[in-house]
């Protein structure tokens, strides 16, 4: 069965090869490239689904790499689940891209420079989740990082892209180093030196708690850097918006999940022992991440930057669930730990679906309107009705409103945190509900954020004239969004199905599952017991549909009567001052103003008011320019001191480099003398 995974990998590499020879002029090679990718994605998703549902664990080796170091690979429940997410994301991107990439026809960049890294990027992600030794894991991880660097800098003529690419590359490598250290510590304690670098060897290692904690911290920094935990997230809001949109969807929706996979693999599987202190520390970081992400998302005007910050928020939510799970496992409450883990995995799946969907939708909007700034859009739902509806459903999901899939996973996280009473330690019992409060605040703010995004971009009137020329995008681009929307709706209405699937993962890792969760049939979600909480998404959805159907019935019965009185559209209320124009609408910045004022210390906001006047007279003013700028505060708090420190120390060290040969000879001589003295 694992051959199917290798076949889909082969297809991805094949598409990379084809992409090398494809260009914007000839559509055949381009078409074949994306077809191969789509097949690879579908095959990968179906295979891993089959593996997951049948509870298989496949292990194999590839004769690659150094002669005495084969690549170990595996496909257990956890890997299969993330491989499934990658497959779905790849399929959606491949459906979407053929028409979308024509946008770059006149950009001056060759198609191959986009196609080859895209394929390698996808292959890298697949290889990461099936790796079963540190060696192939690191190779795959670097393949993923470096190929996505080329995607970020695809349009390298913009300086913003080059800057984003540099920060990304730098942080990806620092992160990679930490991951390597984390593996290294475990491998160093492995009993059998020959297989120390394999995951099995690391599992057998039993370091002291201190070393375990160091290894955990390294993994947290390494994977957290990729996932976007605050304050090591700064590459994310710069890199995700500047990549082509289908790549942004892959990066935000899928690659962040690969980082989450790595974290879960190390901390829940390889370390072998879980300490509740790790969970408590992580909980703090995760809460800050979630709040920080949503607050920064709220004040953005660039549609893709907003989505990127919202990814940080969702990663925070996933890590809240993971840290709850770590705390419960560390406190010897495995069934509650399992619940937290499943909630985190469910949110991973959901976020992969709706964030990819929203990035694809944002790409469609940008493709069609040539605008990034939501404060210049407006009324797009009239010009792009299907994209508008898909985007709305995505917004409902990401705002965690019932009966969407986002709601189910947040509901599960709330249920997990409400079990805090089972813990003995009073301090832990007190901090877990506070994390629930943070989660509640985050959810409510993200609803505000997406009302702002949707209301400004899709509703109202067009704010600039060119928006009126936007047209609905092609069928391929819509079908990719349609695929993701239907998955979102399905996961939202039938969550027990997903839970059944996810239940196999903790079964394999800990031999413990949620026995209760589905015991009352597919209608009822009862994570702990029927007494403590139950939610029936199908019945809620049915009730909503029933209510709407009743109204639709009433509407159609009344319709003949209504037609007689139909007087057409009327102008909206203008207070008697004459017609309203589109500049009088609330913009996104207006919308978020009350929230900006309430949470003002969080941002570093700079506002600029400029009055342009004729003859330098205030009375002859004709234009008022208002610009606001918000820099990520983590630069000021965290990065600028580091940069300053490095600059300072390099300047000091630079002093000994005089450039005179005799000084260097003297350095060598004294070093030699010192060394001789040391060994004598």
């Amino acid at each position: 069965m694992y051959q199917l995974v290798l076949i889909s990998l082969g297809l991805v590499f094949g598409s990379a090869l084809l992409g090398m020879f494809a260009d914007y002029q000839h559509s055949l090679a381009r078409f074949l490239h994306f077809t191969l990718l789509a097949f690879a994605g579908a095959l990968c998703a179906i295979t891993s689904f089959a593996v997951l549902i049948n509870n298989f664990t496949l292990v194999w080796q590839l004769p690659l790499g150094l002669p005495w170091l084969n690549w170990h690979q595996q496909l257990d429940g956890l890997s299969a689940f993330f491989l499934m997410i990658i497959g779905i994301g790849t399929l959606a991107a491949a459906l979407y891209a053929p028409k979308y990439v024509t946008e770059y026809k006149n950009s001056g960049q060759p198609f191959a420079a986009l196609a080859v890294p895209t394929s390698l990027f996808i292959a890298g992600m697949m290889l990461v989740v099936i790796a079963a030794d540190a060696y192939s894991f690191m190779i795959a991880w670097e393949l993923m990082s470096i190929s996505s660097y080329f995607l970020v800098t695809y349009q390298h003529q913009n300086s913003a892209n080059r800057r984003a690419g540099f920060i990304y590359l730098l942080m990806a490598h620092v992160g990679g180093l930490f991951i390597l250290l984390s593996f290294g510590i475990l491998a160093g304690f492995a009993p059998d030196a020959a297989t120390a670098f394999t995951f099995d060897g690391m599992r057998a290692a039993s370091p002291s708690l201190l070393w375990l904690t160091i290894s955990f911290a390294c993994a947290l920094i390494g994977f957290g850097m990729k996932a976007g935990l605050v304050p090591i997230h700064v590459w994310l809001p710069e890199a995700h918006p500047v990549a082509p949109s289908h790549v942004s969807a892959l990066m935000s929706g899928i690659m962040l999940k690969v980082a989450v996979y790595g974290f879960i693999r190390v901390s829940f599987d390889l370390l072998g022992e879980i300490h509740w202190g790790w969970g408590a520390a992580l909980l703090l970081i995760a809460c800050i991440t979630a709040l920080f992400g949503v607050l920064y998302a709220l004040i953005q005007q660039d549609i893709k930057k907003m989505l990127a910050y919202s990814s940080i928020e969702n990663i925070g939510i996933i890590f809240i669930a993971l840290s709850l799970s770590l705390i419960f496992f560390g406190q010897n409450l495995p069934h509650l730990g399992t619940l937290g883990l499943i909630a985190a995995l469910f949110h991973c799946l959901n976020h992969a679906m709706f964030k990819s969907l929203l990035f694809l939708g944002a790409g469609a909007v940008i493709h069609s309107s040539k605008e990034h700034d939501i404060d210049r859009m407006g009324g797009l739902i009239h010009f792009m009705p299907w994209t508008g509806i898909f985007f709305l459903l995505g917004c409902i999901s990401i705002s965690a409103l019932p009966p969407s899939n986002g709601f189910v996973s947040e509901w599960l996280i709330f249920q997990t945190s409400l079990q805090a009473a089972a813990i003995d330690s009073g301090v832990l019992r007190a901090i877990i509900p506070i994390s629930a409060a943070v989660l509640a605040l985050t959810g409510a703010l993200s609803a505000a954020c997406f009302v702002k995004l949707y209301g400004t971009a899709f509703l109202g009137k067009p704010r600039i004239r060119s928006i009126k020329k936007s047209r609905e995008v092609s069928f391929g681009m819509l079908s990719a969004q349609g695929l993701l929307v239907s998955l979102c709706v399905f996961f939202g209405i039938f969550p027990t199905f997903v839970l059944n699937l996810l239940n196999n993962i903790p079964q394999q890792l800990f031999g413990e599952g949620l026995s209760q969760a589905m015991s009352h049939g597919w209608l009822w979600l009862t994570p702990i017991s029927a007494k403590s909480a139950e939610y029936s998404a199908p019945l809620v959805a049915f009730g909503l549909i029933l209510a709407l159907l009743v109204w639709a019935g009433v509407y159609f019965i009344m319709k003949p009567k209504r037609k007689l009185q139909n007087k057409g559209r009327v102008p909206p209320w203008d207070c008697g001052f004459g017609p309203l124009n589109s500049r009088m609408q609330y913009t996104g910045s207006n919308f978020s103003m009350p929230i900006r004022r309430i949470f003002s210390p969080v941002w570093e906001l700079s506002e600029e008011n400029k009055l342009q006047a004729r003859n330098g007279l205030k009375e002859h003013a004709h234009t008022l320019i208002y610009r606001e700028n918000s820099d990520d505060i983590s630069w000021k708090i965290f990065y600028n001191p580091i940069i300053k420190m490095i600059n300072f120390s390099t300047k000091r060290i630079g002093k000994i480099q005089t450039g005179h040969l005799r000084h260097y000879l003297a350095y060598s001589f004294f070093t030699l003398v010192a060394l001789l003295w040391l060994i004598s």
């Binding site: 009473a421 209510a547 709407l548 309203l580 919308f591």
Partner: protein
């Protein structure tokens, strides 16, 4: 967990929910009547809200230019969601099949969904009033929702369940115990309810002054049956909060088993509780003035702090003890 093919149960749901939404205009009329008398004004009839709704249902709908699908769908979605929310609240009976489908977190989610659509509909026309109302509504709800969740979590942790029926049953079975956590949660929830139903001091339901209005600004463009549905939904929402506060914190009298006598007692019990609650609300609305919008955040953070104190005092004082 209930048998979903329980016909009798669903019949009770139907009766209870229709009673709920049919009586909600009466509650609104009664509060208005009380307020008028407290403020030395002549009061309209108690049944004036019914007449208003009837008049609106018979009027034609004037659709504004630029209205999209969102604007036209919202009244139906809104009333559907609020109807669903009303059906899961234990009003007369503690255990009805619908109460099992959605717990208290879902209830908060229902309110969030209704606000989401209402704000979008407000922004659909492209007037500044709509954006103004939507922006304020989402700001207030962003602060009120966590406070509400914290208060209901206190209840959920006391009862060990997020299901409203279970919460009420647990509190009933414990008898009259004075818990500090319940007191805090009650105070928090009352403050949230005032903010969420748009009453003084957060919003004034009786005015159309553009500087202060929130809810009215969002529905300014609606007319005819659409307006009627939205008005009815907001009256039902007021009633939901009222019944929630009454039945959860003072559950005595609610029918635990189905018999004619119990039902009568439960009906008069809830009517009496709502009577007292609405007098308090009317007095509060007469005594206090409306707050500035930017003071609402202080008000809501007070609600949040109270609710969090409730939760912490439960965890620290009551779990260990």
């Amino acid at each position: 967990m209930v048998n979903i093919l329980n016909i009798q149960g669903w019949l009770l749901v139907l009766i209870q929910t229709s009673l709920f939404i049919l009586l909600s205009p009466l509650l609104a009329g009664w509060i208005k009547w009380l307020k008028c008398h407290l403020q030395n004004r002549r009061a309209p009839s108690l049944f004036q809200p019914y007449l208003n709704l009837w008049r609106l249902f018979n009027k034609e709908v004037l659709l504004p230019q630029n209205a999209s699908l969102i604007f036209r769908m919202t009244p139906y979605i809104l009333s559907g969601v609020i109807l669903l929310a009303a059906s899961v609240i234990p009003f007369i009976f503690v255990r009805v099949p619908s109460a099992a489908t959605a717990d208290v977190i879902v209830l908060v989610g229902f309110f969030a969904l209704s606000k989401f659509f209402q704000s979008l509909a407000a922004m659909d026309i492209g007037t500044s009033f709509g954006g103004l109302g939507a922006s304020r509504e989402m700001t207030i709800s962003a602060l009120a929702e966590p406070a509400m969740l914290m208060s209901v979590f206190t209840l959920a942790m006391i009862a060990g369940s997020t299901n409203l029926s279970s919460v009420i049953e647990t509190l009933l079975s414990q008898g009259l115990v004075l818990r500090p956590s319940l007191l805090f949660a009650f105070a928090g929830l009352v403050l949230v309810a005032i903010a969420e139903t748009g009453r003084i001091p957060v919003d004034n339901p009786a005015t159309h002054l553009e500087l202060t209005m929130i809810h009215e600004a969002m529905i300014l463009e609606y007319s005819g049956r659409m307006l009627a549905l939205i008005e009815w939904a907001s009256m039902t929402k007021l009633m939901i909060y009222g019944v929630l506060i009454c039945n959860v914190f003072f559950p005595w009298g609610i029918a635990e088993s189905i018999s004619v006598g119990n039902v009568f007692i439960a009906f008069f019990a809830i009517a009496g509780k709502l009577f007292v609650l609405s007098i308090c609300l009317a007095i509060g609305e007469t005594v206090f003035a409306k707050m500035r919008l930017f003071r609402v955040s202080i008000y809501l953070s007070l609600a949040f702090t109270l609710a969090l104190l409730g939760l912490l005092s439960h965890i620290i004082l009551e779990v260990g003890a």
